[in-house]
């Protein structure tokens, strides 16, 4: 049976890891590489690494850093931030990324999603969608790390992304981001109902129960968290135990068969 994934999100700005609240007020968390090594040793299910400054400079993705970060990562690594064309995707995959997350560029050029999917497969394209709740109801998508309103309603947009070949949706509530007050369950449920591809709940995780709720109440296929793992004593391993206790299937760590003594 397919397991529910618990995914630490690593936000990376210039030289180090950061974490903000509501996509703002960035706090430095520490260097990137040791964090990836620790998560790899602890056998997390998957890692998401986002360069949150990339679009601001309009630079090429930092392939050298990605290559360094991927060196010790033997679990799936999604890399995002500033991706605008197919050529960059190929370079990131060579550098050690397994999937790429696209966001800002897709609003002006949704064809980018189709292009990546047809060259590298749908499983390679993580469509990252950042949204804010509308007063009138529903949610609006924002680009440029949460700063630019796009006018797109989330339900219509995720359906388009799925049609164009996105392999999963990384769905982040900007208001909940960094608050540790829980995921926006209505949002997760609305998107999980709108598409048939997996939905990763993101934004707001503060404790294990929030993750359980995102899966059992809202239908998330995976749960992402940053602040909760950076700033509290809670860990992905303990999160797994909590999910398992709630009856959710989670991945068990590999235990080798005892080899015959020589």
């Amino acid at each position: 049976m397919l397991k529910v994934r618990i995914i630490p999100t690593l936000l990376w700005k210039q030289l180090g890891l950061v974490k903000g609240v509501g996509f703002d007020s960035w706090r430095r968390v520490g260097p990137v590489l040791p964090a990836i090594k620790v998560y790899n040793q602890r056998e997390v299910d998957e890692l998401v690494l986002m360069d949150v400054a990339a679009h601001a400079f309009g630079d090429e993705p930092d392939y050298e850093s990605v290559s360094e970060f991927g060196q010790d990562c033997f679990v799936p690594l999604t890399v995002g931030g500033g991706i605008v064309c197919l050529d960059q995707v190929q370079k990131l995959l060579r550098a050690g990324a397994d999937k790429v997350a696209v966001n800002t560029a897709t609003y002006a050029n949704p064809e980018l999603v189709s292009a990546i999917a047809s060259r590298h497969g749908t499983q390679c394209v993580v469509a990252s969608v950042d949204v804010r709740r509308r007063e009138a109801g529903g949610w609006e998508c924002f680009s440029h790390a949460g700063r630019e309103p796009t006018g797109r309603d989330v339900v219509g947009w995720v359906r388009e992304l799925e049609d164009r070949g996105a392999g999963e949706i990384l769905l982040t509530s900007i208001e909940r981001d960094g608050t540790m007050g829980g995921y926006d369950l209505d949002l997760v449920a609305a998107v999980a109902l709108a598409v048939t591809i997996p939905v990763i709940a993101s934004g707001g995780a503060g404790n294990y129960q929030h993750m359980v709720d995102a899966v059992l109440q809202a239908g998330a296929s995976a749960v992402a968290a940053a602040s909760m793992f950076h700033f509290t004593e809670q860990t992905p391993a303990e999160a797994k135990k909590a999910l398992a206790a709630a009856g959710i299937p989670v991945r068990q760590n590999f235990v080798p068969v005892m080899e015959k003594a020589l």
Partner: protein
């Protein structure tokens, strides 16, 4: 031990090579068919569409070179994910007619969409899933049946000969997880991204697994 990683323009080659280095093997990215003979064993990675990738293999002469390596020289070959699916006779993904796109024809079978096989669960089949087998295979030596591996795919290998099915997983329907024939292997999951269990599969392959 030189492990040739076939570089035909797609795939997470960096991850595959890095996993081999971790095992102290010597990965060599092979981007020209003339270099194929220098490898002690070959890994065919792959992400993307069956039709597009097969076209890339055909265009650069990989199809014949890989068949010759596996069938004539008996070079061990491991296909990963789409690389496994390409071992089949035919693939339906992106095919313009009902017969499908011809594959490498190294293990008899077809590649069909999970939907057409009756899968009602979320697709792509993405994430960690437990893999079961009986009887044990040398490729899976040291790993208990039921161990989780990392999958990402929407199509599956339907083997003609059940004897070539080494291991299966379950995504609402049974899905072929490992196929094998002699020294030709395929894993639907990504061993390079399946942590220590996956590294063990790669080690078993390099150390000469056969069935």
């Amino acid at each position: 031990m030189k492990v040739g990683v076939v570089d035909y323009g797609v795939g997470n080659l960096g991850s595959v090579a890095r996993a081999l280095e971790e095992l102290r093997a010597r990965p060599v990215l092979i981007d020209h068919v003339s270099d194929i003979a220098m490898a002690d064993s070959l890994i065919l990675p792959g992400v993307g569409g069956f039709k597009e990738c097969k076209a890339l293999l055909d265009a650069a002469g990989w199809t014949e070179a890989l068949r010759e390596a596996a069938l004539v020289r008996d070079t061990p070959l491991l296909g990963i994910c789409l690389g496994m699916q390409l071992l089949a006779d035919f693939g339906m993904e992106g095919a313009s007619d009902a017969a499908g796109t011809p594959g490498l024809g190294l293990i008899p079978g077809q590649v069909q969409s999970l939907i057409s096989l009756g899968c009602a669960a979320r697709i792509p089949h993405m994430g960690w899933n437990s893999v079961s087998w009986y009887p044990p295979s040398t490729l899976l030596s040291g790993i208990p049946s039921g161990t989780d591996f990392y999958f990402v795919h929407s199509y599956a290998f339907v083997a003609e000969d059940p004897g070539n099915i080494i291991a299966v997983t379950d995504h609402g329907i049974p899905v072929t997880a490992v196929i094998g024939k002699g020294r030709i292997w395929g894993t639907q999951f990504h061993p390079e991204k399946s942590s220590r269990a996956g590294l063990r599969v790669l080690r078993n392959f390099i150390e000469g697994a056969s069935c």
